[in-house]
Symmetry: C2
Subunit: 252 residues, 2 copies
């Protein structure tokens, strides 16, 4: 981990990795449907594609001036806010096709840190260009409104989780959420490798790392999952979902 390095965005890397949105397999996750070829081309010209970010690097930090949103092409990020006395709250884990940096629009300053949990590639979307292009392309404007709205709904789900659920329910919600998002990207819904530590999971869920560890062990003892280090198998998915009965979708 090299937590003090912020990824440099050089002309070289931009040029080298240039690849069009129109050819991107994540198109349907990032972009509105039904753009014309012409509109797609305009988008391609403003987006800096395939910027590499190494594991442990910051994509941006709280306090950094805001210039761009970032779409994750490959890899896994966490975002977190840190209070003055050092308490860290992980506010989300983001995977391919998801957009980060939306919180910075309001103050033109990033409000959280974004840290790569593995080697990643992101696309940079300069916000001023997004702004002007979304005036020309109504579907794009609506799309960004919707993406931001979805983030608000997701956050409400996390509040429900943090405000109302007990440790087992939180973990169950977390595992199911990961499973669903991985499945939506074509990965296995029942077996996956956690990219984050127990402590990061705990921070996200409002639990201590020991509680996360104990609860995972209990799930394993109950035959719901198997845990081997960071490798998780969801053995009895219906039973895990039953732990959540009544807690609705919770976080997206």
């Amino acid at each position: 981990m090299q937590p003090n390095v912020t990824v440099p965005i050089t002309d070289v890397s931009l040029h080298h990795f240039k690849a069009a949105c129109s050819a991107c397999s994540l198109r349907e996750l990032c972009l509105p449907l039904g753009l014309s070829q012409d509109e797609m081309n305009k988008l391609d010209t403003i987006i800096n594609q395939r910027i590499p970010v190494k594991r442990g690097e910051y994509l941006f930090r709280a306090g950094d001036p805001f210039r761009s949103l970032y779409a994750i092409r490959t890899g896994f990020f966490k975002t977190c806010v840190v209070s003055e006395d050092g308490r860290e709250q992980v506010t989300g884990f983001q995977m391919s096709g998801e957009l980060i940096g939306l919180d910075a629009i309001s103050t033109e300053t990033h409000a959280c840190d974004a840290i790569a949990l593995e080697d990643c590639e992101v696309c940079e979307l300069p916000f001023s260009k997004i702004e002007s292009l979304s005036r020309d392309i109504p579907a794009l404007q609506l799309h960004f409104y919707k993406v931001m709205s979805r983030e608000i709904v997701r956050d409400q789900g996390v509040m429900l989780l943090l405000g109302n659920m007990r440790a087992e329910e939180r973990l169950a919600a977390f595992l199911i959420n990961l499973s669903q998002r991985l499945a939506a990207r074509g990965f296995s819904a029942v077996g996956f490798h956690l990219r984050m530590t127990r402590e990061e999971i705990g921070s996200y869920l409002g639990l201590k790392l020991e509680t996360v560890s104990r609860t995972l062990s209990k799930f394993q003892a109950d035959g719901l999952i198997t845990v081997q280090n960071k490798q998780i198998e969801l053995v009895d998915l219906p039973a895990i979902k039953r732990l959540l009965t009544g807690c609705q979708g919770a976080h997206s």
Copy 2:
């Protein structure tokens, strides 16, 4: 309380209460600065002003189809999500100048309930008209991006509160937040009337109502505040802020 009545929006009420944004004292809270008279006039034509909502009424419910955002002109709302088994999570308390309904944009269905905690007046902003008008008025488009982004930042603050803070810190953050928002609207920063019950405060803060009550009593015993039913006086504001040392601004 009449929790089953959704406010009817009639032509009569619209006509009767019509009043321009350009003349509204909340302009600087709701709208971007620097609009021209012409732009202001366009806005006035799409907004249905001064719709009354009585205490206990729903402005909208989770599941309702989405048509409009609402700006609160006077009064106090809560928004909440309810899980299938009936657990309620209050996701926010909104006061004059604030916008509600943003969570509905993503799915075109409201994701939460909005309930008036006292008699209120709201302005209705039909979203389709906001969409088209914000293409013509760049400042308006940016304004809505910023409002949504601010909501995301606020939610992150609530997550920090729910995930990391103990009961006293949560209550202190809550009181300070209310104080600041009331002060920004020209009300006293140190004396105010709570519009919500202990249970609603508890739901918002992830605490039970008894814990809220006990903690307020303790604050009073410690000379930080006086509580008389729903009337609160912040006697020693610096000391209350000290309880939060290190927890940064938390929820806006």
